[in-house]
């Protein structure tokens, strides 16, 4: 079971490393979107500090959305997805591997660069720590839930826009608890409660989403 997941992760990471431009552009998208906000609302530190959690999280959702359409589309176009579906393992495990690989190349870089952007918004050291941690444990849920949308819209015209329409409403709990954790830290309430709920969301979606995605992929392959 672990073997097949690792095999998929290994292959997808190798492919991502040969196409680094994709990772970098999603990351720059994140940086640019976040940097636009101070220009739009003004440089007052108090206001920026208040807006930072929401802005960073919404930008993280959008940056994740960017890479989702290609999660299965490349494998679908060249026929590898068929071969994966015909391999003698449950397709859900293959999808689990792909979700993990997607997180490693999309969610993890966001978490690593988030503290730098948080500094631009005048966040305190504590808040930066919580922000990084929240993005770290919240983004796997984004990859998981996003996989369902990517599988449902596989091969459809205008799939990318449709994907956002399906997936963004389902991202709301992650946004609320993720931004809430940072917000609670900024206001001195402590973000532990939010963080544990965020962790629970990630656990639940990593357990559930791959199987829903696998069911959707089988429909797309008919």
């Amino acid at each position: 079971m672990l073997k097949i997941i690792l095999a998929v992760v290994g292959r997808d990471l190798k492919l991502a490393m040969r196409r680094q431009a994709d990772i970098v552009s999603a990351l720059f998208f994140f940086v640019i979107v976040v940097s636009l906000f101070p220009l739009g609302i003004g440089p007052e530190p108090d206001l920026l500090r208040k807006l930072a959690p929401g802005v960073l999280w919404v930008a993280a959702l959008l940056a994740t959305m960017l890479s989702l359409p290609r999660l299965f589309a490349d494998d679908h176009r060249d026929g590898t997805l068929e071969q994966l579906a015909l391999a003698p393992h449950p397709l859900g495990l293959v999808v689990t591997g792909k979700v993990i690989a997607h997180w490693l190349v999309s969610g993890l870089p966001l978490a690593l660069i988030a503290p730098v952007l948080g500094v631009q918004f005048d966040l305190s050291g504590d808040a930066l720590l919580v922000l990084t941690f929240a993005i770290l444990i919240g983004t796997p849920a984004l990859s998981g839930i996003g996989a369902i949308g990517a599988a449902l819209t596989l091969g459809l015209r205008g799939g990318g826009v449709l994907l956002s329409l399906l997936v963004l409403p389902l991202y709301i709990p992650v946004l609320i608890f993720g931004a809430g954790a940072v917000d609670a830290t900024v206001t001195g309430l402590g973000g532990e409660g939010h963080l544990s709920l965020l962790g629970a969301l990630t656990f639940a979606s990593l357990g559930f989403a791959p199987w829903a995605s696998a069911a959707a992929l089988k429909i797309a392959l008919e």
């Binding site: 097949i4 095999a7 998929v8 292959r11 190798k14 492919l15 040969r18 196409r19 176009r77 060249d78 026929g79 590898t80 068929e82 071969q83 994966l84 579906a85 015909l86 391999a87 003698p88 393992h89 449950p90 293959v94 089988k218 392959l221 008919e222």
Partner: protein, 204 residues
Amino acid sequence: MLEADNLECVRGERRLFAGLGFRLEAGELLYLQGRNGAGKTSLLRMLIGLLPPENGEIRWRGQGIRKLGEDYRAELCYLGHLNAIKEELTPLENLLAAAHLADEELSEDEALDALEQVGLAGREDLACKYLSQGQKRRVALARLVKERRALWILDEPFVALDVAAVGWLAGIVGGHLQRGGLAVMTTHQPVDIPAGQVRELRLS
């Protein structure tokens, strides 16, 4: 070994075929023939279990393939009209990754040997995006060299191959039948397979 019973296929609003059945034993090859759009590829997709038939059943060793699931897929090798190779990977990496994901044993030496047989010696370490269409097809076909699963399902394997490659592939399929394997393939031009019992099924 492989039996199909009373299969019916409906795509969109059209019924492509109904009441189709056949039986294939060890060492036998089934040629699927028919004009474009007759449902050859749909039938293959039913046989590999990706397309559920509207009616009827497919059995492997006496049991329904839906019920067998992974046990059936562990004995199945499918080659579609898409090559299923990654442009960013080299031919060698492609072969190894495919075997790995399909849970098959394939050493690097065996993979290199397979690539040499399909005439790609010296190109093992070149990313596939730099290969020609015909060479990419050969990378896909190289999978068959060390393939020891019992049932091969091949969709138009001879398309876009030169005469020498057609002969080579016929030999590979013949060897598979000689070892007691089964094969189902679609093709427009019947090719002489040097061994095994050949059956034909015409879809109209």
